[in-house]
């Protein structure tokens, strides 16, 4: 059979895109899913897309999930590519998670903790059995959630407050750039090493959940372990405040839902200071405990900076390795660019291998002739 | 000129001019003193041994005088080809590193620290020549073979990776790599440490032979007085970061003056 070289393809591209749109729609006898259905009913997918897409907009994230046919990596990419075009008004004040309206809050450090353990909406303790009722037509009847006798306190103290009177936790200090009011922005500046804490946390917050999960897991399996303990994980809404130049004082411009995790880990003594527990910090948009916990563990692991001139022993301790490879949009693009044609480079390599083979054949022939 | 000539090399220095001069070299780590107030001069072709037990500050001193660790106080001057006697730490980082690659050698105790483990033995030995600007494969290959022969390595293994060699063999590759470019001064940090006694003896013999044949100046740090006796012309004895005694090797070892040196020497004799 004869081959036709695949070059060109204006029409091929257009057609492929049309086919993609058809496949996205699926069987047309089934009603099209609405973006607001995605937003309400696939809300954890939406949360992950907002977190790694670093753009807090539930509607756009839902649209991205729909448009990407549920491919979360693709949805994150779509949201990032949109976000980069947005005008930038300024930088908000740091959110205060102490003033979070808590929906869920648990600590593994103490049985009872000031503010109480609040389970909230969680997959924990569910039995992972497929619920065929959800597949049957119509809605599953919802069982009423019981209301507590009293309301939760307006402010639930965080793990720092709990340990404060004993001064047992290491102090979180702003990095070398303490005096800068504007934190490092990965989307505007390239990474540099050694990375300050703001660069590290931003990178991890945008980082791929799966990558961070596996890294965190590797530390638990002895690849640079730091004996983490979940000091606290909390989910809830916080106010976002902004200081407009013309006003000079902060005003609330909205609320966002965030998940925060504080990991406590084995103590470190720094210089002349008394021994204290080290900490790792994780924060994401929306509800995402797996990611937040992984982030906190990796943040803690990255505090094990090797002494000058030494190289880190474990992947999770290696700042350059972790930060350069955690971004899923960068990684996915580069891995998949291997689909692009490479025939120019391949032709060059073919020539090289053929020449090596020719020489090999000559050597073989000479050897045989000699024998 | 062949880069491997072992014959006397012309030096643009008066014969009595030092190749290295340390003045009041002090290194502190916070409240801890690495070494304090060390001064000495080293002349071309001379081998200086620095002895003392671990923690005496000899490795800190070696790192300072080889330009690898900036001292807290004091000067380290080296007779560079370009500028003559110059404080290594007054040079820009780029110039200092250039002097280190082109005019100095450093033999680490652990050959892994001084070799590229993923690169063949031959390329490890040829690299310093390439750093000097040699761009002729054939001539570098020849020099490499000469040097591997000189350190008594099996030439058939020239393209093997160092990790496939024994510890003693790796050390020989490291020595060849540090001598191939005809440096004027080579630092050695426990060059025979971590090797079996019989391997040590052969390597020492080789080192002595190579050093004696050339006009190379060497500073060797060791806790092993037998190594010092075999290699060094002069000794500096260190304790708690200070030099407690200096002198000709035989003089120091046969008639030690300082109580600590006496202890060191008697400890050896008891074995």
């Amino acid at each position: 059979m004869a081959y036709v070289a695949v070059k060109g393809g204006e029409r091929a591209i257009t057609n492929a895109h049309n086919l993609l749109a058809e496949d996205r729609r699926g069987d047309q006898s089934i009603p099209e899913i609405e973006a607001d259905q995605v937003r309400e009913q696939l809300s954890l997918a939406v949360d992950r897309v907002m977190a790694e897409g670093s753009c807090y907009d539930r509607d756009l994230a839902a649209l991205a999930v729909k448009q990407s046919r549920g491919d979360i990596g693709e949805a994150i990419f779509l949201l990032r590519a949109y976000r980069t075009t947005l005008a930038r008004f300024g930088v908000s004040e740091a959110i205060n998670t102490r003033q979070m309206r808590v929906e869920r809050r648990v600590s593994a450090a103490f049985k009872d903790i000031p503010g109480g353990q609040v389970l909230g909406p969680t997959f924990d303790y569910t039995h992972r059995l497929l619920d065929f009722q959800l597949m049957a037509n119509g809605e599953t009847p919802l069982e009423r959630t019981e209301q507590a006798d009293e309301l939760l306190p307006e402010q639930v103290p965080n793990i720092e407050d709990v340990f404060a009177h004993e001064d047992l936790l290491e102090h979180e200090t702003a990095a070398a750039n303490e005096n800068e009011t504007v934190p490092f922005d990965l989307t505007r500046e390239p990474m540099s090493f050694p990375a300050d804490r703001d660069q590290r946390l931003q990178s991890l917050a945008r980082g791929d959940e799966g990558f961070l999960l596996s890294l965190a897991y590797s530390t638990q399996r002895g690849w640079g372990g730091t004996h983490p303990l979940c000091g606290e994980i909390r989910l809830g809404e916080v106010d976002v405040e902004f200081i407009p130049e013309e006003l000079g004082f902060p005003i609330t411009i909205g609320q966002i839902m965030v998940t925060e995790c504080q990991m406590i880990s084995n103590s470190r003594t720094i210089g002349e200071e008394p021994p204290r527990y080290a900490r790792g910090y994780g924060l994401t948009f929306g509800h995402n405990e797996r990611k937040t916990m992984s982030m906190a563990i990796v943040d803690r692991a990255l505090k094990n900076r090797p002494a000058e001139g030494e190289k880190p022993e474990f992947a999770a301790h290696d700042e350059e390795f972790v930060l350069y490879h955690c971004d899923n949009v960068e990684a996915s693009g580069f891995v998949q660019h291997l689909k692009l044609p490479h025939y120019v480079d391949f032709q060059a390599s073919l020539q090289f291998v053929r020449k090596q083979r020719e020489e090999w054949a000559e050597r073989q022939a000479a050897k045989e002739a000699a024998e | 000129m062949s880069a491997i000539a072992l014959e006397e090399r012309p030096l643009n220095l008066a014969p009595d001019a030092p190749i290295l001069r340390a003045q009041n070299v002090t290194k502190r780590y916070g409240f801890i003193t690495g070494c304090e107030d060390v001064s000495f001069e080293l002349f071309p072709g001379e081998v200086l041994g620095i002895v003392g037990e671990s923690g005496s500050g000899k490795s800190t001193l070696l790192n300072c005088i080889s330009g690898r660790l900036s001292p807290t106080a004091g000067n380290v001057e080296f007779a560079t080809k370009k500028h003559g006697l110059t404080d290594l730490f007054d040079l820009s980082e780029a110039d200092r590193r250039r002097v280190q690659r082109e005019e100095l050698g450093f033999v680490h105790q652990n050959p892994r620290d001084g070799l590229r483990m993923r690169v063949s033995a031959g390329a490890n030995v040829a690299e310093p020549l390439m750093n000097l600007g040699n761009r002729h494969y054939g001539s570098m290959r020849e020099d490499t073979i000469t040097w591997l022969d000189r350190v008594e390595l099996d030439l058939a293994r020239i393209d093997d990776n160092p990790r496939n060699f024994s510890g003693g063999m790796q050390q020989r590759i490291q020595i060849a790599r540090n001598l191939v470019h005809s440096p004027r001064l080579v630092f050695m940090d426990e060059p025979t440490g971590g090797l079996d006694v019989s391997v040590q003896a052969r390597l020492l013999d080789l080192l002595r032979h190579l050093v004696r044949r050339s006009q190379l100046a060497v500073i060797v740090v060791t806790h092993d007085l037998a190594v010092a006796r075999l290699l060094a012309d002069r000794l500096m004895v260190m304790k708690d970061g200070h030099v407690v005694e200096t002198g000709l090797t035989d003089q120091v070892l046969d008639d030690p003056q300082h109580a600590y040196t006496q202890l060191l020497v008697s400890a050896v004799l008891q074995i």
Partner: protein
């Protein structure tokens, strides 16, 4: 340059909110500053605040950002991939600029003011005033030898290129020749070792003393570097194993050229193949001048001509 260029009338639907050439003017300014620095220090990799683009990393985000920051309404844009204008990714990028800038596009090397390329430099010699923009997957020539950026930056700063030469030395010990065939490292202006991007080494000599400006953009790695016009660019090698370019025994099946970089086209299951110019515009030009190769009239010619007709209709 006007402060806010707006979208041209040709812009596609739903794009009215985007600035001319997609990037906002502040971002373009930042990229132009990085480009100026890159031109001032030939071969040095300048870090820049690479933006997230609507195409994936590894598919030309660096090149697109450079083009977007330089292109104006009077420019004529050419985009090639593997030497050809009609490969999918080149088509896609050319459309992107036609869509967000409404700029004129061309397939003719001689007519272009800006040529964005992946993996090739056109055969037709570039002239003064032209800008080549390369898409770069990995800007660091030493990366395969040393994984750490902190290390490689120091190696460039201190001009410690021993490791690079060690690699060439080992190639010769192992293969009897230098193995790099594409992305063959060069020394720029006697100072920086630079990756010319994965162009075949056949194209390396075109960089030396070129009258055109060559800009290299790595979006994912966030680096821009440059070879300014009339700059010394030397492919690394040894005196007794000098750098050499690829040659072919075959001639181009379509135009009969002997001196160009060839693509290999498999014709059937019997191992019959023909070689054709990788630079499709150059090949078409030669055919228009009456040159004929042994496979003249092959259907590949028709496809190429069909595509270019198609584009005229679309433009």
């Amino acid at each position: 340059m006007t402060e806010h260029q707006t979208m041209s009338a040709n812009a596609g639907p739903g794009l009215a909110d985007y600035n001319f050439a997609y990037l906002d003017e502040q971002t373009k300014r930042m990229i132009r500053r990085a480009i100026l620095k890159a031109i001032a220090v030939p071969g040095y990799q300048v870090p820049f605040g690479s933006r997230e683009m609507p195409v994936p990393y590894g598919w030309g985000t660096g090149g697109i950002q450079i083009t977007a920051s330089l292109i104006g309404p009077n420019d004529t844009f050419k985009c090639i991939d593997q030497g050809a204008d009609d490969t999918t990714n080149a088509v896609s990028i050319r459309h992107f600029f036609a869509k967000v800038g409404g700029v004129a596009t061309t397939e003719h090397t001689g007519d272009a003011t800006i040529i964005q390329s992946r993996h090739r430099i056109p055969e037709k010699p570039l002239v003064e005033g032209q800008i080549m923009v390369f898409q770069v997957p990995q800007p660091e020539p030493l990366r395969n030898l040393e994984a750490r950026e902190t290390e490689t930056r120091a190696m460039h700063a201190y001009e410690e290129y021993g490791l690079q030469y060690v690699r060439l030395y080992e190639n010769i010990s192992t293969f009897g020749r230098i193995a790099a065939t594409a992305g063959y490292p060069v020394m720029v202006d006697d100072r920086y070792v630079m990756s010319p991007s994965p162009i075949p080494k056949f194209d390396n000599p075109k960089l030396h003393n070129s009258p055109a400006l060559h800009l290299f953009g790595a979006g994912r790695e966030k680096r821009i570097y440059a070879v300014p016009p009339f700059t010394k660019v030397e492919s690394l090698g040894f005196e007794d194993y000098p750098f050499e370019v690829q040659t072919w025994d075959e001639v181009c099946g379509l135009c009969g050229a002997k001196h160009t970089y060839m693509d290999e086209v498999v014709l059937d299951d019997d191992n019959n193949r023909m070689f054709v110019c990788s630079d499709s515009d150059y090949c078409a030009d030669r055919r228009a001048q009456g040159h004929r190769g042994p496979h003249a009239g092959h259907e590949l010619t028709e496809i190429a001509e069909d595509v270019s007709k198609n584009q005229e209709v679309m433009a």
